[in-house]
Structure formats: structure tokens, C-alpha cells
Symmetry: C2
Subunit: 394 residues, 2 copies
């Protein structure tokens, strides 16, 4: 990783507050702006709002066709048909994984994404090819965006022999988290899949992030078990449920119980603000103390033709889908791409306070809600004290 | 209205088809490109996709705060609280109606919107002030965007004495359509409001566009009555239902009946692709022969902080909310901002065929679905044969 540089960011409004300066020294936000080294580069924000680096807490960089010619969506309308189309597409594109992922990650970085958690398929047919490609990319692109890997059993775990061993191998190679997917409806063995994942987490020290498309009681029962396992292993703050459609499809009483269980166990949730699937009740979750992040999910891949990698747009979409209109509610959605994502990813030095990493996005907007609804072009994107939009970085 | 000019638009792909040229003569698309007058300006599309002018079939230009400082959303979560907040805001802003509407309409024009149907509040307290402002604007801005007015009883018709007379006066002044709103839940007199509107339409020759937020059976009963009145008066093709939330909230049997009734009567529907309200089943409606348009609804006003006036983004949102992933489905959503809107607005010369108005948008995209999902910046916006993005127009 390139060592962070010094940057004196002047005339900015941190999180929409009063105008001030922030000094980044050696890639980290300094206590004060009193001792500015002579050679420090100066960036005049001219009153722009400064946001911490934006966090994409759920992506599939290995699946994207970003940069490739348009390909009409080929899958049928079910999850299983999409998985099949994905597998077929990947057969032809496995060799270009690093290149495709790099194109998308670089694009996301330019839009102010400082951190990406990407789920990377791990499966006997493809082995660890995608994991290896993404680990290489993570290393090479670290001065623009930090990438964290989830070893993801897209094609099943219990029902796909060899997958568990590959997941464990992926963690040894450098992936940070173990993935999972719909233990009841994919593997038809809720306890089997979840036991395997949590056992592996205990052995390896990895975190966990489980795709849960399951709706209603099927998903709720899976979520219950995830919370119970998390609590039993004392993994608070290190387990995420992605999508969590069930949180939008159970009745009030069940929902309250699930939210309590998540808060109690320290299980977070990531939504991509889907258009035609249920969105978890963001405000209630946040008020209960559950960490809520936002991801893009897949971008232009076999699953979906949508997506542009803009996390301000994802915050807008989460707010729009949640019916948020008041500033404080829209700020909740924005917070999900900042502090919410940071909590899920365990980033202790994320933010605009002294000691935090020098990751920052400047946008021309009046208020935070204005920044979310308007999604203005990025005036500057700073990673580790380097302005990525400076001429020398383009 | 400024008379259209001549423009030779070269190397474009009309609606994503084969590369070709289109000649606009005196603001109208010519039969062929064989007799190009010597002084004709040339615009090289360099392979861009050409779309007809985009149609915003439901807007509230008079309500917008576009161009004003950010104002946090003040209304409570119900329709009636939003109406109250709107009335309060309007009291302070009535004098700047034309200026505010002009700022937003100009912005929409720059994004390729060639036609806007705007609902304009008509109410005893404010009289015809907003109608007069919008009629003036419509005239002054016609060389950039065509604006059609609906005389809209936002605050009730039957329950707001004097409103009906003002609506009829608005039509005499130049508004094209009579509006309506939730006859059962706003006026508590379904037949009373609808009878009044259709009687007025018969007397004045105006079209009709009725806001229908009412859900489930309440909305379905209103929609039934609108279809029956439309059929009785032979107003096929001249009646629109806006929002039509009920189409997303009734059971299958009721839905099928409503769609049949709409197709039979010639009643169209406009959605703004809401984030947290039901979206009508676009594909079924289109397949049944119902005209489906898309609007922005209000943009940055007392009702909502969202919106940027981009009709490609509205098409994306309609597709995203409808779960459309296949190209042909995404094209349905795009068609709603083109031919669907044109059908609702009775624009017979809209499109890219010879004889059509020289309204066109150029975007760099591979396919139509690519144009919708990516919403690229506009490479050129042509209105009546004039490139609005030419240096002389900026």
C-alpha cells in the first residue's frame, strides 16, 4: 500500500457542519491544523461538504461485466435461475476476474468509495481462482480503495462437497470473512450450513456475512439461528446478515423479536435497497442499536443489469424505498454508507475525527439531505491523504 | 414560439437501431436526407443512440422549490398533512411561481425532456395566479420544452366551493385538462367530484387527468367510475389516472377487471415510480393496450425532497421498481417516457419518423437498456431542430 501523504483540506463543512479545515498528515487526520509542514499540498474545498469515505458493504466484484459489452439479462425470474445463469457466465469469464473487478473497483473509488466488502465465489469447479484474483487486486488497488473479501459459497455449502474446505483455504489466503447463503432454501439444512460456518469462524477467527434472501418465517428462523450462534460464540459486531428480506415480510410481533435478537447478539444487516424485494425497516433497526450498512450488491452482472457504484445513489435509494422525507431520516440512510458500514466492517478509524484515516469525499451540497437526494458529482475524493482527482492521479 | 430550424443529425442510431442520419427541416423530420439545404447545421452523433424527446407526463412545476435554498421537509407522513404543508409553503411562494417553474422546466429541458404535463393548483385562496404564471411560462419556454397544463383541484373540488368555477376559467385561459383528486377520500363524494369533472370536460372539450392515491377497493371503485364516465362520454385516449396505487393493491381478479375496463374505455395511467407506494403492473397494462406514462411528480417541494427531472432516471426507477431485468422489459419502461407519454398527451407527431417534430436526445449507450440503467449525460438535446446544447443556446 502506498504510504498516505499530507493534505491540508481547507474551507470544508465536515458532515455539513461549520466551515473549517482538516489537516491530513501521513494519511491520517491530525489533531489540529497548527503545525502544517511546509510542503503540504492544499486543497480548497470552497465550502463543500466533506463526508468520510463511503462504504460499499456488499458487492460482488468478481461477477461484474463492468467494462465489457452490454449483455442482455439471460436468467429467469427466480434466485435459482439467476444462480444458474451466473455459473454459466462465469465459466467464460473466470480468467478475466481480476481485470473486471479492477475496472469496477477503480470506478467505485473515483466516486468516493473508500471501502468495499466483496463476496467472492468459492466453489469446487472454480476453486480459489476468484479469491486469488481479488486478493491480488486488493493489494494493488489499496491506495485507492480498501477491499475486504468474503469467501462466498454461492452454489451451496452442505450440498456442494468441497466448498467448506475451499472457504477455509480462502481465509488462510487472506479473505476476512466466511459467507453463507439461505441455509434453509439453498442447502435445505439450516443447522448444517450455519453450524459449518460458525465452526469454521471459531477455528479461523474469521468474521461472517450471510446472504439471506429467505422471506417470512423461513428467513426469520434462519436469522434466529444466526443470532443464537453469534451470541453463543461471542461474535458480537462480527456477523452480518445481507439482504434480510425476512425483516420486511414478518408480522410486527415477529419483527420486534428479530430486531431484539439482532441487537442483543450484535448481528448487523446490509441492504442494497432492492427495487422489488422487501427493504428492512432501517429506522427501527438503527434505533434498536443494530448496525445497518448499504451495499450495491452485484453491478451489471448475470443477476442484474443495474448499478453504477455510486454510494450516494444507494443511500438515496435506501431513503427513497424507506419513504424517508425528513432530513434526519435521510441522514440515517446516509449514515448507513458511512458509520453503519464502518461498524459492520470493524473500521475503528473511519470518520473525520483526529486519528481517523484520511479518507474523504467533497461534494457541493447545502445539507446532508441535499447531498443524498441530489447525488452531486464528486468535487474531490481523498484516500489516505491523496486527492485521487488531482491531475497527477487521473 | 421560435420557429424550428434545420439540422442534419448524422451518425446516430435511432432507438438503438442501425446507424443513419436524420434531417430536420424547419423543425420537422424530413422524409429523406437527399436534399439538404446548403446552410444546414450538421451535428455528428458519432454513433450515439437517438431517442425522441422525453416526456414527463406528471409534474407539479408550480410547487417546486428548485433553485431556492434547501428546506427540510416539514410535513407529517399522511397525504393530508402534505397537502396542509404544501398550502402553507405556497402562501409564501405564490409570487415566485413563474420563476421557480421556469428554473425547473429549463433544467428538465436540458436533460432532454421535450414535453411536460404539469398539474397546476387552482383554488379560491390563490385563484388563477399559478395558472396564469404557467401559461406565460409555457409560451416563453416553448422553444425548449412544451408545457401542457392541468387545472388541478389540489385542495378538493366538491368540498372547496369556488374551485370548479376556477377550473373552468383555467380551461378558458388555456389549460388543456381538468384535474381531480381522490374523489372518495378527499371530497368524500366519489360521484359528486367525478360528475363535476366529466360534466366540465363535456362542456369545455378539455381532457382529464385525475390523481388517484386511493388504494385497494376505495381506489378501484373510483377507477371503475372514471372508466364508466370515460366510456359514456366517448373520451377514449383523453383521460388519464395518475399514480393509480390501487392497481398495485387489489387482488388478481379485481386487477384483471380494472385493466380490462381501462383498456376498453381508453383510460391511461401515469406512475412516478414511487419508492414506498405501490407501482402499477406496467407490463400487464401495456400488454392489455393501456397507455402507460411516467412522470416525476413533484420535485423538491413541500411533498418530497427527491427528484432531479431526469426522465431516463424515472424510466430506470420504473423498471427497477417493477423488477425488470430483461432488455425487452426495460425497454417497456423506456417506452413509457416516450410513446406512452405521447399517447397520453395526444402527441401525434412524436417520434423519429418522417413528419415527426424534430425533438431528439442523443446519448452514448450501447443499447436502450444500457441507456436506461446507466442514464448517461445527454450528448445533445434537440428541440424543434435546434440543438439546445450548442454553445449559442447555453
Amino acid at each position: 500500500m502506498t504510504k498516505g501523504r499530507n493534505l491540508w483540506v481547507r474551507n470544508i463543512r465536515p458532515l455539513g457542519g461549520e466551515i473549517t479545515d482538516i489537516l491530513i498528515l501521513d494519511g491520517e487526520i491530525a489533531e489540529t491544523c497548527t503545525d502544517v509542514p511546509e510542503t503540504t499540498e492544499v486543497l480548497n474545498g470552497a465550502g463543500a461538504i466533506a463526508l468520510p469515505g463511503l462504504i460499499n458493504a456488499h458487492c460482488h466484484l468478481d461477477k461484474t461485466r463492468w467494462g465489457l459489452p452490454w449483455e442482455p439479462h439471460a436468467a429467469g425470474p427466480t434466485r435459482d435461475e439467476r444462480i444458474a445463469a451466473d455459473r454459466e457466465m462465469r465459466r467464460g469469464l473466470m480468467a478475466s476476474t481480476k481485470e473486471r473487478a479492477a475496472a469496477l473497483a477503480g470506478h467505485c473509488a473515483a466516486l468516493g468509495t473508500s471501502h468495499i466488502r466483496t463476496h467472492v465465489d468459492v466453489e469446487p469447479e472454480f476453486g480459489l481462482l476468484a479469491i486469488e484474483a481479488l486478493l491480488e487486486l486488493s493489494d494493488e488497488i489499496a491506495d485507492r480503495v480498501s477491499i475486504e473479501l468474503v469467501a462466498f459459497p454461492q452454489f451451496g455449502l452442505v450440498t456442494n462437497p468441497g466448498t467448506a474446505a475451499l472457504m477455509e483455504a480462502a481465509i488462510k489466503l487472506g479473505a476476512s470473512l466466511l459467507g453463507g447463503i439461505d441455509p434453509s432454501s439453498i442447502d435445505h439444512d439450516r443447522a448444517g450450513q450455519l453450524d459449518a460456518i460458525f465452526d469454521m469462524a471459531e477455528r479461523t477467527g474469521a468474521g461472517i456475512d450471510i446472504h439471506l434472501h429467505e422471506t417470512a418465517e423461513e428467513g426469520a428462523a434462519s436469522l434466529d439461528m444466526i443470532c443464537a450462534h453469534t451470541k453463543a460464540l461471542g461474535m458480537a459486531g462480527r456477523v452480518t446478515v445481507s439482504h434480510g428480506f425476512c425483516l420486511g415480510t414478518v408480522d410486527e410481533k415477529r419483527l420486534a423479536g428479530l430486531i431484539n435478537a439482532m441487537a442483543d447478539a450484535g448481528v448487523g444487516v446490509v441492504s442494497y435497497a432492492p427495487g422489488d424485494s422487501p427493504v428492512p425497516p432501517v429506522k427501527r433497526l438503527v434505533e434498536a442499536g443494530v448496525a445497518v450498512g448499504v451495499g450495491t450488491d452485484g453491478i451489471r452482472d448475470a443477476w442484474t443489469p443495474y448499478g453504477n457504484g455510486d454510494m450516494l445513489e444507494r443511500a438515496m435509494m435506501l431513503a427513497y424505498r424507506s419513504g424517508f422525507r425528513r432530513d434526519e431520516d435521510i441522514e440515517l440512510a446516509l449514515n448507513a454508507v458511512i458509520a453503519g458500514g464502518a461498524a459492520l466492517m470493524g473500521l475503528e478509524n473511519h470518520g473525520l475525527a483526529p486519528g481517523c484515516a484520511g479518507d474523504m469525499v467533497l461534494v457541493n451540497a447545502e445539507t446532508l439531505a441535499d447531498a443524498v437526494t441530489a447525488r452531486p458529482s464528486r468535487k474531490a475524493v481523498i484516500k489516505g491523504g491523496v486527492n485521487l482527482m488531482a491531475a497527477s492521479c487521473l
